[in-house]
Structure formats: C-alpha cells, structure tokens
Symmetry: C2
Subunit: 445 residues, 2 copies
C-alpha cells in the first residue's frame, strides 16, 4: 500500500465540552458551553490555526444518555453549530452527521448545500443510518432492520447528490445587464424515485466552490464498507490498534476499487484521545483528576478491567491504589474478545496501580495517550507510518484546553517531522483532503 | 375593539433582494445576495436600529418560480439565514416559515428551539401547511387535501410545543460542584401519537430566555383561523384594504376567544410595500425604473389592469404613456372580484398614464405606497388607527436601500407621532411583541 507523506487531522467536537464526560466540571471550562455557539467557534478557530483539515460534529437525533452526571454527547443542532463556525473561519472544513433514516433527502440536500455555498465549499456530510431505538421513537417509528436502514441510506445519498447536481455548473448566470438571473435550461428536475424516498427537484441552490459537499461515512460491517466504497471520500473509524486499523483501511480501499474508484480517493480518520502534560506524570494526573469527578463509576470500571484480563476484580477485594497483586497478575491474560486488553495487561504488568491503569484510558472508546506532546506525536507517527490510517479524528479530553494543547504542542512536532502540512493546500474541503471534484450523482455521470 | 397605542413592525426578507423581482438589477445591489448571509445580517442590523420587532423569512421547499428574469422568492435555507442574523444582532426577533407538511416535528422542534436558545429567546416559527405541488414532489408525495394538511399541522404544532416543554424550566441545574448537569427527573418523554405524526421525546434542549419560540400563522380560510386561534401569537396576513384587514383581524381575535384565549394575545401583521423618494414623483420614478427592467411583462400587466376595471386593454390599442382615453374611462368600473380595483380606478381617473398606474403597484400582491416618507407614515397611521391591523409586515422594494429608507425616514415620523416604540420593551420576542409567556403545549397545561 502506498504510504502518503502527510497525515490529516479532524477535530471531533463533542457537544461543547471534551471527550471525557466530566470535562464540563474542570476549572476554566464554561459549564454552559452546550448552548453557546462561541465555544464551537473558538475551538474551530484554534484548529484552523493548527491547520486541521476539518472539524467534525457527530449526531444522533435523541437524548440517549443520562444527563445526571454527564453532558450531552451531541450538539443542540449540528447544522447551526457548523454555520456558526462557517461564518467566523476561512479554511477549515466543516463536517456534520445527519441521519439518512430520519431526514427527508430534500431537506438534507438543501441544508448541506446551502451551508456549502455559504462556507465557500468547505462542507462535508457524514451520512449515517440511525439504529438507536430512542431516536426511532422520536420520529414515531419502530427501529428498522440493518438491511432497511442501509437501503434507505443508498437512496438518500443518491437523491441528495442528484439534487446537489440539479444546477449545471454554469447555470447561475447573474447577468444584470441582460436580465438573466439564471439559465433555466441548465436547472433541471432529477425525478428520482426509490422504494423509501423520492424527489423531483431541482434544488434552489447553485454550485459551491467545491461543487457540492463531500460525503463521509462511519459505521462498520459489510453494509458500511459498501456505502463507503460507493460514495464516501472520508471515513471516520474507531479501530483500537494498528492491526485492526490497517485491516479496516485496506477493506475501505478495496471497496472503493470494487466500485470503480481510485483507492487513494477514500481517506480514513481514526478516532484518538489524549491528555497532554509537561511530563507523562502530568498528563496522567490530568486524567486522574477527570476520573475523580465520578467516583461512583470506579467499581464498575474496576470490574470491567478485570474482565479484560480474565480476572474477577472488585473494589472490595483489591486496593485500587496499588499494583495488581502478584498472584492475580500471574493469572491475568489479555481477553481475545476486546482489542483494548493487551494494552491494559501491559500497563498492569508495568506495575501501575489499578487507578492509574484506568486513568490511562484503557477502557475508553478510542485509544488514549496520556503523556507529553512528544509521546502523542510518536503515537500518531507510528500509526500513520504503519499505514494504519490516513489521518486522525482527534478527541481532546477537555474542549478548549485540549485543542490548545494539541495545536500549540503536537502540531509543531508533526510539522517538524514532515508528517503534517504547514499550510492549507487550497480553500475547499476537497482540495484540503486531496479528493477529486464531484458534481451531481456519481452513478449518473 | 380596543386600539393599541403603538403599531409593530416586521421586516419581511425576500431571498436577499427586495420585494420587486427586478430589485437584483438595481445599481448598488449585490446581485449574488441570494447566497450571501451578510445581506441578511446587514438588513437585520438596520431593522434593529429602527427597533423593528422582528425579521420574517417566508419559505416553500421548492423552486416554484422561473429564475430567468426573477430572483428566488425564498432563501437558500431559512434557518441558516436566521442563525446568521442571530449571531450578529441582540434584540430583534427572528421568525421563519417551515412547513408542517414536509418536516418531522422532532426536527422542527429541535432546530427552532436550538435557535431560540442561541438567540436568547428571540425566535418565532411561522407554522404553515404546504400545498405547492412542486414542493410535494420534492418529498415524493402527492399534494394533500386541505383537510389533511391542516390535520397534520395541528399534530405537528402540538408535538413541537410538547417537545419544547419536555425539560421543566429548572431542569438544567449545571451544578459543577455537586456534579449534576441536569435533573433527569425534570426531563421527561412526551409520548404523543397522532394520525400523521408521533414523537416520544424528550428534546435534548433546555428552555430559552422566553421559554420557547413564538408560534406564527399565515394563510386564510376557516382552517387558518382555527390554527391561529388555537396556537398563534402572531399572524402574517395579506389584506388589500382597511375593510378586509379589519374583518380578518376581528375574525382572528374571535377565534382566539373561541379557544379560551385573550384576543389581545394574537397580533396581526399586514403585508405592505413601498418605494420612498424625496417627492412623490421621485418615489414613483423609482418604481418606473424597477418596472423598466422587465418590458416583456408590460403587455400582460396592461391586460390585467384592464380586467380590474372592466375593460379589454392591450398595448396595441392604447398608448400606455398617456392617460386612459375618455371614452374608455367612462365605461370603466372597479371589478368586485379584485379588492385592488378601486385603487386602480382612482388612479386612472386622476389622469395618470397607464404606465404610472402600473408603477403605483396596483396589481402587486400587497398594497403599495410610492411617495414620500410622510405619505408612507400616513398610510400606516390610517390603517393602524382604523383598527385594521396590529402591525405591518414591511416589504421593501429594494433590499438594503429600501430598509434604510424606512428606518431612517419613516420610523422617526411614526415615533414622533407616538405610533411606534422608541426602544425595545425587553430582550425576548415575546416581551417585544407583548404576548404572554408559554411553555410546553398549551393543551396540556
């Protein structure tokens, strides 16, 4: 597999705070950031200063988590957050998730295209299906089968792309002298009809500087690979180690080839978390602090950690501020069920206390580096040079400070090592991702 | 009927240009304003300087008009336009139309509520049904019967309002010390199910400063009156004369009473257009100029004018730069089919040329005043003191210049006469409209 010279970076924004659920309680964080669009704008400006290719806002149309101790996992509204950022930045890409299951294709096409025009061609749509039952019931629906959801997604993306192409590139004439606002011969209906969705068009929106938004995909399985291979220029993935990341990336590239595309035109972004300190101990201390806000979760985490290494662990039988006792350590093994287990076992064997092993984020959703900026850069370099991914979807622990740490400390190291660009290649998201121009539906061209 | 002391003003924004289709061709207008959110922001800032209660953006999810010579009648996206304005203004209300026919209630509730929170309580939703066949086909639907559309609208508004109220007012605790982000006992599902729509909720959004957005209504008939009487605090109406305006306003007030509400809690805004000059002749010249961009439309307008006064008129048989010949004038009468006819006949009898009668806007969608700022103020005063309306939905001829004329010249006259407020009464739209606080669904409280 040809290695690319430079990695790409996406800043994943989680509802105004950080990737850690207790981030809203840290000193210096605005606890009301959830409703404050400035929090998105400020982080995006920092990321733009750090030449991040894009920000990315995930979404599910529901409130799936308990807000007792945790903040929301999704923004109030992803499109309004993106527009707030679009109006106050110039180059950074703007990607949001909207469900193909619970939005009409016309409305999706309209709002993403409008945003793409307003931002001068910086928008991407992460087109996902929604399986969450609480989301389904918000729309008066029963949860749909995986097969149905993906069939809907194919129809939705095809209709959306066709609507995006319903004005020919030169249809908007703006001839004030001749009195011709647009050339109606070049604005045509699309008249697509599927089993779930249909739309006639045209969309009332001219082309953007990049033609139309970039399609992203997230979510695994055969159906996910097919969707990505057909339509996506970017994929958000959540591998936990280099081997599985490389495997997923290879599968994406092969899927693109299967649908007649160049494998280099599909870029994978691996989710990744970090906590940076001047020393490794400082980085870890920051994570201990974050963990300390929710002591009620410690017992279940300890028990979960035990499962990962084949042991029954309980806060009642072990001292979590001590290393794992030798007799237990001898029986411990990395569970093959969980790709995060080898890392957990490695840290336990190093003699770290159970609390510190947990603080290292071994049971987090993404791989975590707690340490210095150099250690973070080393991690990213190792993955990238191993061909594990084209880039990273970076999830800071704490919203603003985490972004600042990465931009000010990690980015210069990556740039120094020749692993990350020093300036944006162009003005549009397509240019900055290095993916080709597309206009209208790929199928119909 | 109790007369109010002061009228209210809404600035109707038509897709970036003005109320006249040729406005985009006038010198000083940005012909690409359609895609430029700054054009909305700049006009809204002017209107806020002029203490307008609100801006209003109409919408239909379709491209119903020919863009050959005309600009679009609706924005690229109303919510993105409103947010652009919300982020750069402080007090002016922000109202947009979104269809109850072609949007899921959950998505409507979410986006309007998010915008209301972001704008600190300045948002209104003009909840309309969509009959346009080209809109229906954009959603793969057949046009629905009036009865069905209104049944859907009732369900949509009830579900949306219930979702808006799904957090109790004090549910968002933000207790960083105690670690309680929100009180989940005060965030409850709504579990509403109708014939067309259903939603479980809750919405992931806390209350705004005004609790929740204000409901507006537009559209006539018995069904429209019922919808307004039940839910609306504001109504956009298009009466052509004082008598029909007063009748409509009275019907709205009676409808509110029928549903157990105070009639003063429903405010009507009558659509109104104007072209201002230093003299009446200058105002008219501005309209001649606007009309001159589309000479191809003159023949059909002349013919239409004839119909209004009971005559067959053709550009081939009359000189449109002359007054109507005496023999025709003697036979002319105001058609009872068209409420605009008396005004057309009056101007013809005054001896104006046919071109100038047309330039006065007698066949426009709204009443038109072409003349001085004092004449515009006189018109508004006459309607308002006659109890014809609570306020006006002002449609400038040319986007920016028209707003500037009104704010700089008409508003001071109205304020001088004690007909318009000199300062915003409060910070929220409800406060500035003088309508009561509401939270959640009216039905369920």
């Amino acid at each position: 597999m040809a290695k690319q010279k430079e990695m790409q970076l996406a800043l994943q924004m989680v509802s105004g705070y950080g990737g850690e659920f207790s981030a809203w309680r840290m000193t210096g964080t605005d606890p009301a950031a959830y409703t404050n669009m400035d929090s998105y704008v400020e982080r995006a400006k920092l990321a733009e200063k750090g030449k991040f290719q894009m920000i990315f806002i995930a979404d599910t149309p529901a409130l799936p988590n308990d807000l007792g101790a945790q903040t929301p996992m999704f923004p109030m509204d992803p499109m309004l957050a993106l527009l707030s950022v679009a109006r106050e930045t110039e180059k950074i890409g703007l990607v949001a998730t909207l469900s193909t299951t619970f939005n009409y294709p016309y409305n999706l096409a309209r709002q993403f295209k409008a945003l793409d025009v307003i931002s001068h061609g910086r928008v991407g749509w992460n087109a996902v299906t929604t399986s969450d039952p609480s989301a389904a019931s918000n729309f008066g629906a029963q949860p749909l089968s995986r097969k149905e959801r993906y069939a809907m997604a194919h129809e939705s993306i095809q209709i959306v792309q066709a609507l995006w192409g319903s004005w020919e590139e030169d249809a908007w004439t703006l001839d004030t002298k001749g009195g011709k606002f647009a050339d109606m011969a070049k604005i045509q209906p699309i008249n697509l009809k599927g089993q779930y969705y249909a739309s006639s068009g045209p969309l009332p929106i001219p082309p953007s500087e990049q033609g139309q938004p970039v399609i992203f995909q997230a979510g695994g399985g055969y159906e996910g690979l097919e969707l990505a291979g057909r339509y996506a220029s970017g994929v958000y993935a959540n591998p936990y180690d280099i081997a599985s990341a490389r495997e997923h990336r290879q599968a994406l590239r092969e899927s693109a080839v299967r649908f007649g595309r160049n494998p280099d035109d599909i870029k994978m972004y691996a989710g990744f978390m970090f906590s940076i300190g001047a020393t490794e101990e400082e980085g870890l201390e920051r994570r201990r602090k974050l963990m300390s806000f929710n002591p009620e979760e410690i017992p279940s985490r300890v028990s979960y950690l035990g499962t990962m290494v084949g042991l029954r662990l309980s806060v009642h039988t072990v001292d979590i501020d001590q290393p794992l006792p030798d007799d237990l350590l001898e029986r411990a093994y990395a569970s093959p069920q969980d790709p995060r287990s080898p890392r957990a076992l490695e840290l336990l064997k190093k003699g770290l206390s159970i609390r510190d092993v947990l603080a290292h984020g071994v049971i987090n959703y993404h791989p975590v580096v707690a340490g210095t900026a150099v250690q973070v850069a080393d991690f990213l370099e190792e993955w990238f040079l191993a061909g594990a991914t084209d880039g990273f979807s970076v999830v800071p622990d704490i919203a603003y400070d985490g972004v600042a740490d990465f931009v000010e400390q990690v980015v210069p190291i990556l740039q120094e090592r020749g692993l990350f660009h020093k300036e944006y290649e162009g003005k549009t998201l397509r240019e900055n991702m290095g993916v080709p121009y597309q206009y209208g539906s790929a199928e119909t061209k």
